[in-house]
Amino acid sequence: MSQPFRAERGGLVDRERSLRFRFDGAVYEGHPGDTLASALLANGVRVVGRSFKYHRRRGIVGAGAEEPNALVQLAVGARTEPNLRATQVELFDGLAASSQNRWPTLDFDVGAVNDVLSRFLPAGFYYKTFMWPATWWMRYEHFIRRAAGLGRAPRAADPDHYFKRFAHCDVLVVGAGPAGLTAALAAARSGARTVLVDDGAHPGGQLRREPHAVDDQPGHEWAARALEVLRGLPGTRVLTRATAFGWYDDDLVAVCERIADHLPEPGPHRPRQRVWWLRARRVVLATGALERPVVFPGNDLPGVMLASAAAGYAHEHAVQTGRSAVVFCNNDSGYAAARILHGAGVGVRAVVDARGGGGGTAARGDAQTAGAEIVTGAVVSAARGRGGVQSVTVQDHDGLHLSGSPRTLACDLLCVSGGWNPTVHLFSQAQGRLRFDAALAAFVPDAGRESVICCGAARGLWALDECLADGERAGREAAAALGYEPAAAPARTAPAPETAPTMALWEVPDGEVRRGKAFVDFQNDVTAADVRLAARENYSSVEHLKRYTTLGMGTDQGRTSNVNGLAIMAATLGRAIPEVGTTTFRPPYAPITFGAVAGMEVGRDYEPVRRTPMHDWHVAAGARMQNVGLWQRARYYPRSGESMADAVCREVRHVRETVGIVDVSTFGKIDIRGPDAAEFLERVTINRFHNLKPGRCRYHVMLREDGHVMDDGTTTRVRDDVFYMTTTTAAAGAVMSHLEYHAQAVWPELRVHLTSVSDQWGGLAIAGPRAREVLRAALDGADVGDEALPFMSSREVTIAGVRMRVFRITFSGELGYEVHMAADHALTVWEAVLDEGRGFGVEPYGTEAMAVMRIEKGHVVHAELDGRTIPADFGFDRMMRKDGDFVGRRALGREAFTDPRRRGFVGLVSRNGRPIPAGAHLVWNPTAPVPMHTYGHVTSTCYSPTLDAHIALALVEEPAKWKGRTLYAASPLKRRSTEVHITDPVFYDPEGRRARG
């Protein structure tokens, strides 16, 4: 297959091998070393997409990250990916891409009607219309949404893998152009741990786009060699295809390395991309500069390109981006482009230079070499053509207006250079200030962090010899600042042409008075007229300009448009450019896949799972597992044919009537010891602890300093100066931190040590009338009688070397014990209890049955302790210590906390045998019109198999008043309301006989 626009010689592509690829269904060929863009151009494909708003045909403008137009959708199926810049997609065999934002085809696109209607669709038109009729916005919006957007999201999950990785270095160099390479060499040679990253597949930056020699070697070879040297230096790391996309605090630079995007698939166990979290002590930014277009009517026609891009395609890819070119520039680099184009066989008709004096001597020589006419003091005032540029109009100008008579030049390629913008994105992200340099007509880095050093074109140096030397300086400076002794600087030879200064030219004069759109932002279809409209309507702050017109808000983030846009705004307002200023540079420098940012902690690995020692047992026993925070807990153990409700009722009955065991390993457990442990506990709970005897347990309540209940649990005095606290599962971490804070920061004088032993101990609870028998059997006959182990007491037993703590406490209200045993033995003990207890009928039960039984007993959990409740709401004030200080005490006296209308804790019983809906509120008359007053709300609800009734716990205002009366538990969401009787919250065994029995 022929590639009609591939030059016969030259280029850095591998002509020996051919790669086949598809674009919009058609098959083409390219070579290794091509990007999708260069391969398309080699095949003469000039229209590659449609623009965002007007759906205009667009071609390739740039050659790298700056590309605004050539966005394609890559591949199909699960690996499809929208909005990729064809200029950065490396070609591989079998690559398939399609154009975007067109329907049905790129050539015939219905959306192009917008272009016809465009005069009715200026910037921000949608703010002024679509308001009538008022209810129709959603309909208009439906069509607006369909018209907007670019590519299509994949529908399937991503088959590829991504990882992140932390790394540390002394000197990070971003950019492997001439400046970056010399900087990295200087830093690495002085002994600094150096990392060099570059966006491209190959080092060299601009050296790959221009036939310059460094040290008498072709630039790209010099760069490749420099990279080899770097790779060989100890402690040095080089990452290519790696974009530094964000600067973060304390010089953490995030770099996305595309490991496998140049391949059809990553291959087994190979990540596709990796994000490096690089912590650097010094950051050298050698990010180069990006060429800027000029705004004039017709400047968005396919075939109008950046001069450096056209030259780059010619030199690097041996691609002719046209047959007959005109170069339009305001600086010398356009002349060099002319020479390079000529070298690749492109005819260059003219170099149109806006500067009255034209280019420097070297530049003029370039134009002569290219055989191009030099037209100075002139501009391209318009480009014309159907489907692509066919001719340009050239006219003189006097800075303010066009002058003289226009001249038409036929051409199929217009190369534009409006000057260069240093790539200051990362510098700005690093809080560096910019300065407008009028001589360069560009924003350049000004004051910044000490640790961030710019060099080369990123700092506004355009000459190669200067860039090389500046990189060297930056690398040495970075290393020296860290105490490394820089090695002697090598002498380098490179061209040092004399150049004429750039002239500020953002927009060709008189653009406003002529027909034809002059684009500022190609991707978002923002024209110069839009910028002026924004000014007229007083959206004249650069930030308003951006948001009103969407200038610079596309996937290229205004790389080619922002400066022109703000300059046109400045001109319109008659202000200086620095007064208008830039918008904020934000990460990412270039769009980064979610997959890469997310790394491996996605899907099931988004958060880890915590497992109790009995986890596998529960799963094997067929338990339904449930997420509780990070934990998984056994919810219930269904038998065949049983519904959840059946299983839970059975488990509850079994505990109430016989005996059951439940895994309570998830409770937080804290070892609190030291001479002042009791004192400490008194300060962090509402309870008294000085008088607690060793071997006894106490229910404790902990408050936040604002008086609200934080958590509850039991605390056991193991020895005089050793306490063992349990917390709820959910609050374990928060409680530990809270206690550590008070021990370390508030009362450091207390001699107390806190150790989390949550994972040291597995826990199980045995409950039911036969609990003691089961326990005794399981504990080899240890004495667990009422005398040895009375209610709310604890003892330590060691059986066969297994250390256990047995607590006579209960959550279910039955005779109950908790056994905490060293975790690696927990499963053994659990199995032993089941084994030894089989004769007594022991069976496992889950958290759901536990929840039902605690509701029957009126015990509170986080549903009641919702962070808005205080001790008095539950009658906990009765156990509150009367004297002394504790966390939260002082906040309790507040007006609202003693107000009689506060909601207090009650029980509810359904009056009609119907369930009390979860999440219901208590109302007087559920059919009354809304909004209506609610008297309280249901916190926990269940069917109680024990009472054969639907019961619930609730918080209700003026509880004393309501007890004994009825209200409705209303759930309008479920269209249900249940009449409920308001009772005491303890439904079952209120005297607590069973637990003590």
Binding site: R165, H168, P268, R270, V609, D616, W631, D759, A800
Partner: protein, 196 residues
Amino acid sequence: MTEPVRRSALEGHLEPGRHGAPDGARVRLSQGRVEGVTQLQGIGDGAAAGQALAALGFTGEPAAGRAIGGADLRLLWNGPGQYLAVSSRRHEQQLSAALNEALAGTGACAVDVSHARTLLRLAGPASRDLLAKGCPLDLDVMASGDCAPTVVSHFNVLLHCDGEDAFELWVTRSFAQSFLEWLLHAGAEYGVQVTA
């Protein structure tokens, strides 16, 4: 009944063999087993620490971030005045009881945490690369004898470098299985040889 065998959090989950990339295992992973692990608290610093440690038979003060000792007793620093005391000989409570006894009167204390953490051993040329996928520390400068309480991905880990490219990873028991899965996933690129 004699003391039952300990059933670690990884029982049934640590599958010996090759995981991930089939060509060469650049990481080796195994479970470590010790007899007793105790958390020491309140060792203090300066002279007080010297005294307390002398009571345990150590001379001088181990610097923050270092591990000292041998098979009978080694101390891994894990916070101000805090060490994880590990013994391959002395059993659980015997260890903590002995340490408590030795520390009596110093204001320091020892809490048995023999079951609270699972020990994994990671070695091989890519072990730092693997850890760097989740650990924000500068692993390049971590040398044998260094130890640091840190994070690896979502996991709190006491990281102890105990040889050229060899690490002990002490992870909270209930997270051990998830951590193992994380290690295997993160290591697949390098190939992981798991030994029991």
